[in-house]
């Protein structure tokens, strides 16, 4: 009986103590008509050895192709120390620190995490994480409606350079609460959002403006001007950022004259493997004045009976288990394990390490762009300053090119054709610090073959 520790003697003694004739009688309050006797569709148990062989064969089927996609999930080096510690049973198999005294490890780590994220984003407070970057944006929009008391419209302006999936997720999650999302188009020539594009909304009741920076095309937005426009028009500003970029880019807390109001993003670049897109962790930081509107777990430092410092969940009055239908969100978990990875990652890299990684990513993508645009039939869509992604335009249908590259062991990029038909055969590519000169050359060679 996998994972069941009971001996026959145990079972007998336990049933005797209960006064039940058999285990099955413990289910005698369930209507007999509903009881099932077996689960025919479930295969027989595998031993661990068998399941290992099975999973290894599945994994080998997928192999380890050379990856050049970013588009919201980034392949970075992960120090071996990170997951060696994350998977320690004391982190892996603990739960939400409801008994703070028995969870000081997790709590202190989360407090350290909050400190790091607040500083990285230039904000004052951070929660203990949300599910992922996309849902964090949805939560930020809902939070903005609560926080911007002057606005009654629940209207959110979203440039089309924001990750389209993030917008879809925000709609799916927030539209039930009557939020409306209106898109603001980017300037075709630059791939960035002009501050002037917002002028059509001047004087209207806008609850919040979202700015993704670097934007979905990897380009740097005019964050100062857009932030100032929003604040001038009574709107809050929600920044969506790649945390890795903040090692070299001005933090959202310093955008414009006043800085933004809420910062969200996906922490995946910090020590979390791609792993088919999850689990990642969403982060959220804000100004102290909005802390009670922030969803998710928050850790505070306090003292114990002896006056010694300790850590505990705080501001729980916001949360669903207390406020129920009036809670800031229905969220009751964070992504604790991934935050553990992120916190260890940030501690190992430090500010200077992150700066080096971010800088190398930017350089590598420039080199990738240089190499690929030498291939006949490939051109760069937007030339402006970027972080580590770039839009290429091909002379061929992108999905075909991607399949042809995949058969050569190269994951060539993200097909923008469906989301941005106006860009034609557009491919979003990315090279992080993990891509070597040889990798880039291999891609260029394969692409040249495919486009020949």
């Amino acid at each position: 009986m996998p994972f069941i520790p009971h001996t026959d003697t145990d079972v007998k003694e336990m049933l005797a103590a209960i006064g039940a004739p058999a285990i099955d009688s413990l289910f005698d309050e369930i209507p007999a008509s509903l009881r099932i006797q077996s689960l025919a569709g479930i295969p027989e148990a595998l031993t661990e050895m068998e399941v290992n062989r099975l999973m290894q064969s599945r994994a080998q089927r997928d192999g380890r192709p050379l990856n050049f996609i970013g588009a919201g999930a980034y392949e970075h080096h992960i120090p071996a120390a990170v997951w060696a510690i994350v998977t320690r049973g004391e982190f892996y198999s603990a739960y939400t620190p409801y008994q703070a005294e028995a969870s000081q490890g997790t709590l202190q780590l989360l407090y350290e995490y909050q400190t790091m994220m607040a500083s990285l984003t230039g904000m004052q407070v951070s929660n203990a994480s949300l599910y992922d970057g996309a849902s964090a944006l949805a939560e930020a929009c809902l939070m903005a409606v609560r926080a911007n008391r002057k606005s009654k419209s629940a209207r959110i302006l979203v440039p089309t350079t924001v990750n389209p999936t993030y917008l879809e997720v925000s709609r799916a999650i927030a539209e039930g609460q009557q939020l409306t999302f209106e898109t603001v188009a980017y300037t075709p020539g630059t791939g960035t959002t002009a501050a002037s594009a917002f002028n059509a909304y001047s004087g209207q009741d806008i609850t919040a403006v979202v700015i993704q920076h670097p934007n979905f095309f990897g380009l740097l937005e005019d964050v100062d001007a857009i932030t100032d426009w929003a604040h001038a028009n009574g709107a809050l500003v929600i920044a969506v950022v790649n945390p890795m970029s903040l090692a070299i880019l001005k933090p959202p807390g310093e955008w414009g004259a006043k800085g933004v109001d809420v910062v969200v993003g996906d922490g995946q670049p910090f020590g979390v493997p791609l792993s088919s897109g999850g689990p990642n962790f969403g982060f959220m930081t804000t100004r102290m004045e909005h802390v009670r509107q922030m969803p998710g777990r928050i850790i505070g430092r306090t003292v114990d009976l002896d006056g010694k410092p300790g850590f505990t969940l705080t501001l729980q009055a916001r949360e669903q288990h207390i406020r129920r239908s009036k809670a800031t969100s229905n969220i009751c978990t964070n992504q604790g394990l991934l935050v553990t990875a992120g916190t260890i990652y940030m501690s190992l890299l430090g500010a200077s390490g992150l700066e080096q990684v971010a800088s190398t990513c930017q350089r590598r993508t420039s080199e990738l762009v240089a190499a690929l645009t030498k291939v006949k039939g490939v051109k760069l869509a937007f030339a402006g300053p970027r972080f580590h992604e770039a839009v290429l335009q091909l002379d061929r249908k992108v999905s075909d090119v991607i399949e042809a590259l995949a058969s050569r062991g190269i994951i060539g990029g993200f097909d923008l054709s469906r989301r941005y038909p106006e860009l034609g055969n557009a491919l979003l590519v990315c090279a992080t610090e993990t891509r070597t000169d040889e990798d880039i050359a291999a891609y260029a060679k394969a692409l040249a073959e495919v486009l020949k």
């Binding site: 520790p5 103590a17 928050i298």
Partner: protein, 485 residues
């Protein structure tokens, strides 16, 4: 053992230099460049390893302690699940890679969907919700979408029992619904007469956990389903307690239209100090078109993602990619290792453990909240008497249990049972461990009789003594302010 903050280990100019490339300089316009580096720790690799290893040791966890936290299903997390989910090919797979390069992964996801359909009796499963609460959201959003699609726009009321998890009403609100709360009877069943009065043309649906958070099975579930369905509402099953009935009875057979599952409970993916969860949803036939995307489809022997183009009525996307894929892999491995018979044993032995504990505690004089009912996989005892007579309340018992080397049960939930401890041993704990826990509770009651102050002062043996939560909320200290030296 105490451990300073990582920032207190920090010294300017230090880092784990083997972890990053050197010498590159980014090309960023000056106006957009960061001027002050962030306040991250500056420590060596050893310092980071030592710090976080020491922090880990400050935690109780399943791997180190019995952790009978009610409603959380703190069962053993098999190491094989982690090992297989961490195979390098799975870890390095980009979520947006072409389906052709992910057939191995997709086949696991497809089979997981199929197995979850089988154990829940539903017709479709979407794996994308990233936690139970998001699964709930998806469920209620589908109910809303269903009514809307039929033009039944006035159905905006969600019925919840008063014993429901806080997430249930919170979710209803997020979906733009209002909440109608109905009481529980002294037996633990819901007040069926109140339910009959509550349903009507505005009823969108009902959210139920069965067994309920009171630790008992809702016996009139078939009638409940009939009443709600006849009123035009749908039934939502909160899978928090699915562990109690796995392989014994299926939500789909009970009449539920939609269900979320907490894979980190029933299917033993790690709790991770608070997450990640994973909240797959199952639906019956009529909600199939509304499932959140993406979902894995199979065509011949090829697997592919189904998205908005395949499911145009979908409630949409809930995550940037496809949910907590790595968690799903762990659940898949777990289910394959349990197999058909193992699934049933989950319910059997979690019920055996819970009913045994309940029987022994009753025998020892503790007060069961529902003494005449079978326990499900968990049960409630109330310390109301002890609080009144000895001045030692449920929280005091909980804290003192920590000194005895046990994580405390869930305290003060469900809210409607005063001074309650919700105790869930799970099927992976042995009789010996359970006996030791019972003995500890008995010993603590004896201590309380002899020296109440001793119990009220607990814990004594942990890294900190009882913490001042009020101060934490009033004098907010949420980030470390001193910069490193």
């Amino acid at each position: 053992m105490r451990e300073p903050l990582i920032f207190q280990h920090s010294r300017s100019g230090r880092s784990a230099v083997a972890q990053y490339p050197h010498g590159e300089k980014a090309d960023v316009p000056a106006a957009l460049r960061r001027k002050q580096p962030p306040n991250l720790p500056e420590v060596s690799e050893l310092q980071a390893v030592r710090h976080f290893t020491r922090l880990s040791q400050l935690n109780f966890s399943i791997d180190t302690h019995f952790y009978p936290l009610g409603s959380c299903t703190m069962k053993y997390n098999p190491r094989a699940c982690n090992q297989n989910a961490m195979l390098p090919e799975f870890l390095s797979r980009h979520p947006l890679g072409p389906d052709s390069a992910g057939q191995g992964f997709l086949s696991c996801m497809y089979e997981l969907q199929e197995m979850l359909k089988e154990v829940t009796g539903m017709k479709g499963v979407s794996l994308t919700p990233m936690a139970g609460a998001q699964g709930e959201f998806a469920g209620v959003a589908m109910i809303r979408a269903y009514h809307k699609a039929r033009g039944d726009l006035q159905r905006t009321e969600i019925i919840c029992p008063d014993a429901a998890h806080g997430t249930n009403p919170a979710t209803a609100t997020m979906c733009g619904c209002s909440v109608i709360e109905i009481p529980s009877l002294p037996s633990g069943d819901i007040d069926f007469e109140a339910l009959k009065k509550a349903v009507g043309p505005k009823t969108a649906g009902i959210m139920l956990t069965n067994p309920s958070t009171l630790g008992v099975f809702e016996r009139r579930i078939e009638e409940v389903a009939r009443v709600v369905h006849e009123a035009g509402g749908l039934l939502y099953y909160d899978g928090a307690n699915l562990n109690a009935i796995l392989g014994k009875v299926r939500p789909g057979d009970m009449g539920f239209d939609v269900i979320h599952m907490n894979l980190h409970k029933t299917f033993s993916t790690p709790h991770g100090g608070g997450g990640p969860g994973s909240g797959a949803v199952g639906v019956n036939q009529r909600l199939l078109p509304f499932m959140p995307v993406p979902v894995v489809g199979k065509e011949g022997d090829r697997y592919r993602w189904l998205d908005e183009r395949d499911l145009p009525q979908t409630i949409g996307r809930l995550s940037a990619f496809m949910g907590n894929a790595g968690v799903l892999l762990r659940a898949y491995v777990y289910m394959r290792m349990l197999g058909r018979a193992g699934m049933q044993r989950v319910a059997e032995f979690s019920a055996l453990n819970a009913n045994y504990m309940l029987a022994r505690l009753k025998q020892a004089g503790f007060d069961a909240a529902y003494p005449d009912r079978r326990a499900s996989h968990e049960f409630i005892i109330t310390m109301k008497r002890q609080a009144k007579e000895l001045g030692v309340n449920a929280m005091d018992f909980a804290k003192r249990l920590l000194d005895y080397g046990f994580h405390a049960p869930t305290t003060y939930f469900p809210l409607l049972v005063p001074e309650c401890l919700l105790i869930e041993p799970t099927e992976t704990e042995s009789k010996q461990e359970i006996d030791a826990f019972i003995d500890a509770l008995i010993a603590i009651e004896k201590e309380a009789l002899e020296d109440a102050a001793k119990v009220k002062g607990a814990p004594y043996t942990l890294p900190v003594r009882r913490l001042d939560d009020v101060r934490a909320a009033k004098q907010l200290d949420l980030t470390y302010q001193e910069r490193s030296g």
